[in-house]
């Protein structure tokens, strides 16, 4: 096994920012808004770096797709301990329509090119909440997948993954190479230290375009409109049960 792990990191609007919709309802406001690495991607990077520290793998490669600013996100991953970065440059209109299908095609192509042993992604991004990229990547590569991982361990040449599912915890053993998506309780990401940030400056970030990987990133989806959730309406207080029933039947709910 190559000992190389690919980690996808996405640049998203910071979780603490209050999102606002653009006046023309085409999308949310991103200009001048604080962006940072998707929290689940941070967990993914931390897991990969931990594996390297335990000497279970040899190299962590951070990948991000997007405009020039995506390099900041890769730098954060490098400061956390990734060895090198790959920036797949996508700008303008194409970046606005970039979604899980396109990203998973890119990740699959890179996983083959880099001969990765593992691809670790966050389980979903906090801007679109798709929860699709990991699964699609595994399907395109025809690799096993361990999604919603809250615990990952190596057992010989297989990986044991404890998954958080609706019914509780599911433990599976999958062959490598595989795709893993990180859930919240997998680990607590470390802070980058000032010395590590300085060291990260010397680490390399390779630049490429989707066309270089032979990937077509045209979107099959078109966003028609973005709206804020409806304002919560005030309720009505009723005195008796009969009033309640009559109000409910008026609203067509009974």
């Amino acid at each position: 096994m190559s000992g190389r792990v690919l980690v996808g990191v996405k640049r998203v609007i910071d979780y603490a920012v209050k999102i606002r919709v653009k006046p023309d309802n085409s999308s949310v406001v991103t200009d001048g808004v604080k962006h940072s690495m998707n929290p689940f991607c941070e967990i993914a990077v931390e897991e990969a770096v931990k594996m390297k520290e335990k000497k279970l793998i040899k190299e962590v490669v951070a990948v991000s797709c997007g405009p020039q600013q995506a390099q900041e996100t890769i730098r954060t991953a490098l400061a956390m301990g990734a060895d090198r970065g790959i920036h797949v440059e996508v700008t303008g209109k194409e970046y606005e329509t970039l979604g899980p299908l396109q990203i998973s095609k890119i990740m699959a192509a890179l996983a083959k090119k880099e001969e990765a042993q593992l691809v670790i992604l966050g389980k979903q991004a906090i801007d679109d909440d798709c929860n699709q990229t990991g699964q699609m990547t595994a399907a395109l590569l025809d690799w096993p997948q361990g999604t919603f991982a809250s615990e990952v361990s190596f057992e010989g040449d297989k990986i044991k993954v404890v998954r958080e599912i609706d019914g509780g915890l599911e433990t599976i053993k999958i062959n490598m190479p595989a795709v893993i998506t990180a859930d919240l309780r997998l680990n607590t990401p470390r802070y980058a230290t000032l010395p590590n940030i300085m060291k990260a400056k010397k680490k390399k970030i390779a630049n490429m375009k989707p066309a270089d990987l032979g990937v077509d990133i045209t979107s099959r989806l078109e966003v028609l409109r973005v709206d804020e959730p409806p304002q919560r309406q005030a309720g009505v207080k009723v005195e008796t049960v009969e009033d309640l029933v009559s109000k409910l039947s008026e609203a067509g709910l009974v």
């Binding site: 001048g32 940072s36 900041e72 730098r75 000032l194 010395p195 990260a200």
Partner: protein, 388 residues
């Protein structure tokens, strides 16, 4: 107000410098709406953005949740500061060969500004600690640097800066604490007032009189806690900034080895002033950070709070007020003025009142947005406001 006019000129100068720098460096001016916040990463290098990000995260996760408790219970947050030191915040502009991070003044300013959004009082103490560590790093000999700096950079030990006395504040060169040479020791007599961290810290950088009158008679000694003759006054009762204790530091025939003298006799005042040149920038950065956090809280409140059927952000009065506040509170130029775009501190002439005034004015205007109602954000905001 008499201070207002030169302030106005500085504000205009600051904004015109900023405009020219933008044209020169080909950056497009950011759109400023009432509801958009000033981007704190504007104008920073990629590396500085990373430093800022770590400091912001640390402030939000490790400091802000406890800030109110530290203030109310008057706790000196030793463990949190040691965590900060693990990230490299203990000796930010100290040389790496003795455990420091070896960064520039501008990097330091960016970091303190970001840390202050978590707790101004604690960050201000961290900046004092850094200043002391730098003084020993820069003016100490090899033995002194190796003895003190590594433990200060890791915050295994904490430091305090002792210049002010009951009888000498602004006129620092007239200080009276004497240090008489007896064999291989100086015997110190006198007291220092209002020392941040005093009593809880381990290493005291003390300016004292070894020679004649005036600045040329002052030397700088490093006094360690536990030295016989070193004692402390009662903890001062303060309004705010309670996460760092303030005490008088008293010397009664306190014997300090000559080996603990930084630099030559008579060099002490020079060392003290050089330390303060950096400390001035640091404390201005702390104020900027507090202003930044206050503006964000106020802005968020405007978008949420409804009166007269709509959110405050749509209210005509607040729109006008906010535009004026934005003109005062140009955080990027404030930072530029504070750091002189990376020039060494000696060349930047700025006074603490000026910069804190600018941040204060912006914050005061934002303060009107809050009405006295029970509100957790409000409490948080006033804790911040009281610290500026």
């Amino acid at each position: 107000m008499a201070a207002g006019r030169p302030l106005g000129r500085i504000a205009k100068l600051g904004s015109s410098i900023c405009r020219n720098q933008r044209l020169f460096l080909n950056r497009s001016p950011q759109r400023r709406g009432v509801a958009s916040c000033v981007d704190p990463a504007h104008g920073l290098t990629e590396e500085q953005k990373e430093f800022q990000k770590v400091a912001f995260d640390f402030a939000a996760n490790e400091m802000a949740p406890h800030m109110a408790e530290w203030d109310q219970k008057e706790m000196f947050p030793v463990e949190t500061m040691r965590k900060a030191a693990q990230l490299g915040f203990g000796g930010i502009y100290v040389q790496p060969d003795v455990g420091g991070s070896g960064l520039s003044r501008l990097d330091t300013s960016v970091i303190f500004e970001a840390l202050s959004t978590g707790c101004v009082s604690t960050t201000a103490y961290i900046s004092i600690h850094n200043m002391c560590a730098w003084m020993i790093d820069t003016f100490g000999n090899t033995e002194q640097r190796e003895k003190f700096c590594p433990q200060l950079c890791s915050m295994e030990k904490f430091a305090s800066y002792c210049l002010t006395e009951p009888g000498s504040g602004s006129d620092a060169a007239s200080l009276l604490t004497t240090a008489q040479l007896r064999g291989d020791h100086y015997i110190l007599n006198g007291s220092k007032a209002f020392i941040s961290g005093g009593g809880d810290t381990d290493v005291y950088v003390v300016m004292c009189r070894t020679g004649g009158k005036g600045a040329k008679g002052i030397s700088c000694l490093v006094v360690e806690k536990g030295t016989p003759g070193l004692s402390f006054g009662k903890k001062e009762k303060k309004m705010g900034w309670n996460s760092q204790p303030t005490r008088a530091v008293i010397f009664e025939d306190c014997g300090v080895p000559v080996a603990n003298r930084l630099g030559e006799e008579g060099q002490g005042f020079n060392i003290a002033m050089k330390g303060l040149n950096g400390g001035r920038i640091n404390i201005a950065s702390c104020s900027l950070g507090a202003a930044h956090a206050s503006v964000q809280l106020a802005r968020d409140h405007l978008l949420v709070r409804k009166q007269f059927g709509e959110t405050l952000s749509n209210n005509q009065f607040f729109l006008k007020l906010a535009k004026r506040a934005h003109r005062w509170l140009r955080l990027p130029p404030g930072r530029e003025a504070a750091t002189g775009w990376g020039k060494p501190p000696e060349r930047v002439s700025l006074s603490r009142p000026n910069l804190r005034h600018r941040s204060l004015n912006g914050v005061k205007k934002k303060a009107i947005f809050f009405s006295p109602k029970k509100n957790l954000h409000l409490f948080h905001f006033f804790i911040l406001l009281s610290k500026i």
